[in-house]
Symmetry: C2
Subunit: 337 residues, 2 copies
Amino acid sequence: MVKITDVARRAGVSPSTVSYVLSGKRSISAATRQRVEASIRELGYRPHAGARALASSRSNVVALVMPLRSGVHVPVQMQFAASVVTTARAHDHDVLLLTQEEGEDGLRRVADSALVDALVVMDVQLHDARIPLLRSLGLPSVLIGFPAEAAGLTCIDLDFAATGAECVSHLARLGHRCVALLGSPPEVYARDTGFARRTAAGFTAAARRYGMTSTVLPCAPGAPAARETVDRLLREHPDLTGVVVHNEPALGPLLEAFQRAGLRVPEDLSVVALCPDELAEGAAVPLTSVALPAAEVGERSVELLMAKLAGREVPDATLLPPQLTERASTAPRAHVN
Amino acid sequence: MVKITDVARRAGVSPSTVSYVLSGKRSISAATRQRVEASIRELGYRPHAGARALASSRSNVVALVMPLRSGVHVPVQMQFAASVVTTARAHDHDVLLLTQEEGEDGLRRVADSALVDALVVMDVQLHDARIPLLRSLGLPSVLIGFPAEAAGLTCIDLDFAATGAECVSHLARLGHRCVALLGSPPEVYARDTGFARRTAAGFTAAARRYGMTSTVLPCAPGAPAARETVDRLLREHPDLTGVVVHNEPALGPLLEAFQRAGLRVPEDLSVVALCPDELAEGAAVPLTSVALPAAEVGERSVELLMAKLAGREVPDATLLPPQLTERASTAPRAHVN
DNA sequence: ACCCGTTATCGAAGCGCTTCGACTCGAAGG
DNA sequence: CCTTCGAGTCGAAGCGCTTCGATAACGGGT
C-alpha cells in the first residue's frame, strides 16, 4: 500500500506538504504542487480513509436512512437514492445505506462511532421517534418530509400547498368552474398529516382566487368506497368538471368509479393526479399529474447537508415547486349550455 | 466523545484489556469482563470507526454496487439491497452504496482507500469490464450473476438450468405432453448470455426425461413479434398445451397473442412465467411463476463475503434452487381425445 | 539598512484504536 | 519444591493522516 510518506519522498517534500496539496488548506508553490501531483499520479496514491477520518474527524461519508421494507412507491425511492449518491459523490462524499428498521439505535451507532458526518433521513413521520435523537446527535441532518415539530431541523419536500394551487390553476386555464379535491382517507386528515392539509389549503385558496366552486372530499381506499365517494360527489356537485386526486391507492378505483358513473375522461371530466409519473403514464388514459420530484429532492438534500457541513446557514424548510405534466386526462371544459 | 481510555480508567484496567474484551481475541477473566462491560454501558462508549479501521486494517464496511439507473425491475433490486444491508448488519458490518456509473474507478477508489473490506457487485454482465479489476483488487467480492470468465470469482445466481427443469416438471405433473419455452430475443442467445442458454438446456433435458415434445423459441419484444411467434408456435405444434415464458418484457404481449389466437389460460394452455412475483400476481390471470429469490441471493452473498473475510474457502459458484409458485395460469391438461 | 508581513515549507505531535511481546501469578507436573 | 505452562493483564509501538506552530526566505515600506 502506498502512503503519504512515499508520495512525499518521491516528490522531495515533507508529508505535510503533500497533505496541503491535497486539501488546499495552505498555499503551495506551483512548482511543488506539480511535483507532488505527479508523484501521486505515478504511485497511484489514495489516502487511507480511516487514517484521514481519525486525524481530521471527518469521514466524508453521509448516511442515507431508507425505508427498505418495500411497499411505498419503490421506483421513486430508488430515484431518490440514486440522486443522493450521485450528488454526494460530486461533493467527494460516499453514502452509507441504513434501513429504517435499524431505527434510533442505528442512527446513534453511526453517529457516535463517527462513521458518518451527516444524515439524510427519508420517510419522516409526523411524530417520528427519531426527531429528538436527531436534535441531540450533533450531526447535520436533512429530513425528507416535515414532522410536527420541525423547528431547528432542516426539512425538504414538495410544496404541497403550491401543488394544490397549481392543479387548480391548470383546471382554471382550461375553463373549469367547479372542481373537487379527492384526498387522503379521513384518518390521515384526522392525524393532521401535514401534506394532506397543505394540499387542501392550497387547493381551496386557489379555487377561491379564481372564483371557482370547490370541495375537498376524503376518500377511503377500495373500490366500494371509491364508488360511494364518486356518487356523493356527483350528487352534491352536478356541474363538476374537474377533479384532483391526491391519494395514490384510491386512484384506480376512482377512475373506474367515474367510468361506471358514465363520465368519460377527459371529455366529461378532467382529472389531475398527484402520483409518480410512471403510474400516470401507465393509466388507461394517461393522467395529467404532479409528481414528487425525487431526483431534485435528493440533490437538494445533499446540497443542504454539504452547506451545513461547511458551516453555512441553511433554511429550515425547503419547499420544491410542483411541476405539472400535462397528459390526456385534462381537456378544456365542454361548453354545453 | 468518550474513548477507550475513559472506559479503561473507569473499569480500572488498561486500554488494551478493553480492546480485548471487545474483540474477544484474548481471554479475559469473567470479573474483568463484567467491569469493562459495565463501564462501556455506563459511558455509552462506541469505538471510533476510523481509528479502528486504521489500527486493524478492517473497516467493517462492505460496498454494494447497484445499477441505480432505474430500469431493470426495481422492487426486486430493492429487496436485494434490503437483504444485503440486513445480513451485513447481522455480521456487524455496514453497507456503502455505490452506483454502477461509478464503474471501475469507483471500485478502485473504495478499495484503495480501504473504505470497504469487500464488495457485492450486482448486475454483472457477461463481458463485464470490472471483472479483471475485481481479480486484481485483492478484496473479497461476490458477483450477482455469472460473467463469461468466472473462474476464481465467487458468483451467485438462481439456478437457471434447474429452473427450466422445474417448470417442465410442473407441467409434466399436470399431464402436459407438448411444451415450449419462449425465451429471450435472438440477440441474447447469440451473445451467449449464460442464463438464457442454461434455462433452455434445463428445459430441454427435462422434457426429454419426461418423454415430452419440446421446443425452444426466442421471442423479440413488442406485440407484433409476439403475435408472430405465437402463430408460428401453434402452427408447428398444434397439440401444444404448456408454455414457459422466460422473457419479461414479452410476457404481456404473448399473453394477449394467445388470447387473440383463441386460447384460454389455463383451460387450453398452461403458462409458467419466469418473472418477479409482483408481475405474476398482477396479471389478468395470476401466473404460476418462478421468481428470482432476491432476498435469499442478498443474504447468501453477504454470507459468502463474510466467509471469505474470515479466511474460509467458499465455492466459486452458488446456484440457488428455483421455487415455483403455483397460481391460476396452470391446470391439468384437458383430455380431449 | 531595518523591520514587518507574506508565502512556502517542514517537523512533530497527536487522532483513538489494535496488537505484540513481556510480565505475573497460580496450578499442574516431575 | 522447583519448573513449566497457560491464563490474564499491561505497556508501548505503531496504523497513515492532519494540523499546528516554527522557520526561512523574500520583498516592500520607510
